[in-house]
């Protein structure tokens, strides 16, 4: 298990695509959470939300700002990470090379998941750190309060972010196992996350009550509810308090475990071609 973990760590750290994903995630988060709202506050067109601009980007909002992207666009990045990690083994036919070395499928899988969860935590921490830096810079320039959320709120925030990031990563893992590759898994995962979820929330749910109810059981709306409960702005895509934060956390944990278990069963069961 330790051997498989450290093997997976080499694969993760030395893969340029993963660093690119991290860079894109940080860049997008900085841009849409801090740079654009602050620029709007400084010299924008004075739209309906311009007035709130400054308060939103201060250190006090660090938790909500750091996990606000996870329901949709950061979630998409985590799906990509999960798909690449597992789908690559199918795409390059490397499962056979790895499994001929002796480890059991489940032990390689466990090593992969452990490394991906470390990566998910790292992404979340990176969000908090860059967000902290950006908000401190803005607060100092604007002579605003440098006060941070309480330590407890920060820990809960990082934990919630980790749960969200881990859940989407496992979603990617499961898709790659089911579809035995990268391309289709990536495509379908992103279509679900970026298109279908939005259509359900914006188009279908207002029309049909049963869809509005069923939505409350889906991963995306629960992710949005958890982020909302921890202070993410409701104008962030996907952030919407449909259910309580506690319930959302339980549902998301169930999804995380469910994705991982179904992935494990399928990987063990099916032929490696």
């Amino acid at each position: 298990m330790w051997g498989d973990f450290s093997a997976e760590m080499i694969k993760l750290l030395k893969r340029p695509a993963n660093w690119l994903l991290l860079a894109v995630a940080l860049l997008l988060a900085l841009l849409f959470t801090y740079v654009i709202p602050y620029a709007g506050y400084k010299g924008g067109t004075g739209g309906p939300t311009a007035g709130r601009g400054l308060a939103d980007v201060l250190p006090a909002n660090l938790v909500g700002n750091s996990i606000g992207g996870l329901p949709v666009f950061l979630g998409a990045i985590m799906v990509i990470l999960g798909v690449l990690s597992v789908g690559g083994e199918y795409g390059w036919n490397t499962w056979k090379t790895v499994l001929a070395q002796r480890p059991s499928r489940l032990s390689v899988y466990a090593g992969k998941i452990a490394v991906l969860m470390v990566a998910a935590l790292t992404v979340v921490l990176a969000m908090f750190v860059t967000g902290l830096a950006a908000s401190l810079v803005i607060a100092s320039v604007e002579n605003q309060s440098l006060a941070l959320p309480s330590a407890k709120d920060l820990v809960v925030g990082v934990g919630a972010g980790w749960l969200l990031a881990g859940m989407w990563t496992s979603f990617g893992v499961l898709l790659a196992v089911l579809l035995r590759g990268v391309a289709l898994a990536l495509g379908l995962g992103l279509v679900w996350l970026l298109a279908v979820q939005n259509l359900l929330a914006l188009l279908a749910a207002p029309l049909l009550d049963w869809i509005a109810q069923a939505q409350k059981g889906l991963p995306g709306p629960n992710a949005g509810s958890l982020a909302a409960a921890l202070g993410s702005g409701s104008d962030t895509p996907g952030v919407d308090a449909l259910v309580g934060g506690g319930q959302a956390a339980i549902v998301l944990t169930a999804y995380l475990l469910g994705f991982l278990i179904v992935g494990a069963v399928e990987l063990r069961r099916r032929d490696i071609l």
Partner: protein
């Protein structure tokens, strides 16, 4: 304990039996040639040995154990497969960790396949020959007692093939058991102790290369030919004598050449040629496998 034993091993894909009721025995210390034209079921068999695919029916024992642990087994199945973004060395480091062997083995196996000089290049930039050798290196990481190589010369140029053969022969000489598959008999006959020939998923022949070849024949040219033929039929029986290319073809042990020569001469015939002719191996292979491969 025999390295590989299978009994009734079968894999069906729908209607197609890719491997049918296969009984394979690979003995300790031998280099076993696993032969068959493309699509015969070689790779499917080897994948089952490694536990990559599940047999539809039948049993497998590797050193008496069911497949799975693969403690004493190293394998290269159907072409090398590695992470293109890693160097050859990093690829082996990854595999060494999966195999739970120390990083020191990486240097050893790189040296064995003569890749040390290029080990820091990205795998994506390797030539096919280098990729194949890296595949063999990965199979050697565990210093396995049994090495399974599935068509390791596929796609190599003649020099690469010769290198690969020399390497396999060396590995076999080190006391390892080697199973090497190929669709070309001529390519592995010099290095194999025994061969098994697979066609349509069934083992159609198993034995040493000379078993497969059958006994060599004697070619005799003597005049007058009709008298010589009649005399040879009296001597050896009608079945053992046939006319070919203006001479006689005698199905007898080659050691009898001198004796037969002497008796033809003493019968007053003039003998101008006596020599051993080998049966064309590729022809034998071609016939065994139902004439489906265009080998040679």
């Amino acid at each position: 304990m025999e390295p590989i034993v299978t009994r009734g091993l079968t894999k069906r894909y729908g209607e197609l039996a890719a491997v049918a009721d296969l009984d394979l025995n690979v003995r300790a210390g031998e280099v076993y040639g696993f032969l068959g034209p493309n699509g015969a079921g070689k790779t499917t068999t080897l994948r089952m040995l490694l536990g990559l695919i599940r047999p539809t029916a039948g049993e497998i024992r590797l050193y008496g154990r069911p497949p799975g642990e693969l403690r004493d087994v190293g394998a290269l199945i159907e072409g090398p497969a590695f992470y293109p973004y890693l160097s050859g060395r990093d690829n082996l480091r990854v595999m060494a960790r999966h195999a739970r062997v120390s990083d020191r083995r990486v240097d050893v196996v790189l040296d064995m396949v003569d890749l040390t000089g290029r080990s820091h290049d990205r795998y994506a930039n390797y030539s096919l020959g280098m990729k194949q050798r890296l595949g063999v290196a990965a199979a050697l990481l565990k210093d396995p007692r049994l090495l399974i190589l599935d068509e390791p010369t596929n796609g190599l140029d003649p020099a690469g093939m010769a290198d690969m053969r020399a390497m396999v022969r060396q590995l076999g000489a080190d006391g390892r058991t080697v199973l090497i598959s190929s669709h070309l008999l001529g390519e592995v006959e010099q290095i194999c102790d025994r061969v098994g020939v697979l066609a349509h998923g069934c083992l159609v022949s198993e034995g040493t290369v000379s078993d497969l070849r059958g006994t060599a024949d004697l070619r005799v040219v003597a005049t007058p030919l009709d008298k010589a033929a009649a005399y040879a039929r009296d001597l050896l029986g009608a079945d053992a004598v046939s006319l070919a290319d203006g001479g006689l073809r005698l199905t007898v042990a080659p050691e009898r050449a001198a004796e037969i020569n002497a008796s033809l001469v003493s019968a007053g015939l003039r003998v101008s040629e006596v020599r051993m002719v080998e049966r064309d191996l590729e022809q034998a292979f071609f016939e065994l496998t139902g004439g489906e491969s265009r080998v040679g």
